[in-house]
């Protein structure tokens, strides 16, 4: 019985991949999408750093940068079908609202623990946005930015 289920399971995965692959191939500007998604993660990491360093005054600036990255994503999908664009817009708005909340709270409730909890929620909202895009275009929101801990720079210190 169990062995009969395995081919069915594999067939389901195969079908899912077959459906997803053309979506990836159909994106009009995959490089622009990839850049915008990577920038969203980069700025999200900067939010986290400013909170960790208790540099709350800088958080609104990070929020402005997040909006700039969001605008880049809107530009990257502007030629996509309306149905896809509206899905992206809905999840992007949710992510923007989550980061806006952190920005607002940084002024009214400058508490690193509370802000970090909100940041975790914002990352979840961002992940939901990323789920709309092919895996090969999605950065890992938990990966540190490119320059950290690589290359010879840290070794010289």
């Amino acid at each position: 019985m169990k062995t009969k289920r395995i081919p069915a399971f594999l067939a389901t995965i195969g079908m899912a991949l077959l459906v997803a692959a053309p979506l990836a191939a159909q994106l009009k500007s995959p490089d622009d999408v990839k850049t915008a998604l990577r920038l969203l993660v980069q700025v999200s990491n900067d939010f986290k750093r400013q909170i960790t360093n208790k540099n709350f005054a800088r958080v609104p600036h990070e929020n402005m940068e997040y909006m700039e990255a969001a605008e880049a994503l809107r530009g990257a999908v502007k030629d996509e079908p309306a149905a896809f664009k509206s899905k992206v817009e809905a999840r992007l708005k949710a992510a923007l609202a989550a980061y806006q909340k952190i920005s607002d709270m940084s002024a009214t409730t400058p508490d690193a623990d509370k802000l970090m909890a909100e940041h975790a929620k914002a990352v979840t909202a961002m992940n939901a946005l990323f789920d709309l895009f092919p895996a090969d275009l999605r950065p890992d929101p938990n990966t540190p930015p490119g320059g950290r801990g690589r290359g010879p720079a840290p070794a010289t210190n």
Partner: protein, 135 residues
Amino acid sequence: MLALLLGCGPKPKPEPQVVDLYIASDGDFLDFVPDTLTVRTGARVCLTFHHAGKIISARHDWVLTYPGKLDALTKDCLDLDGILPQGDPLVLARTPLCDKGQTVMVEFIAPRPGDYPFVCATHPEDMRGVLHVTS
């Protein structure tokens, strides 16, 4: 007599070698391209930094410090939000901060041989590199 005068006078100091270095941000991403530079000790370095960003309004610069001072400089940059004071003893050379699309320059004499870390003062944990000064 003339030969004596010409031969025995003080020797003029040799002009330092002039070296042009170019470095940029990796577009809007927090990396230097290239992240390693090499120059000979004593050279007069003319370094040009280009902020190649087009999307994000973050400001960048290029700040050179001494071997072994990367952590201290990083801490200062974070504590001071990237605005380092004039005459900061940790800073060997630096460009002004610049906005996306802008280019800035700095001139300095390459110090004694060694590996000198550099950072962007506003993103010191991400934008890093090394200036190799050779003998």
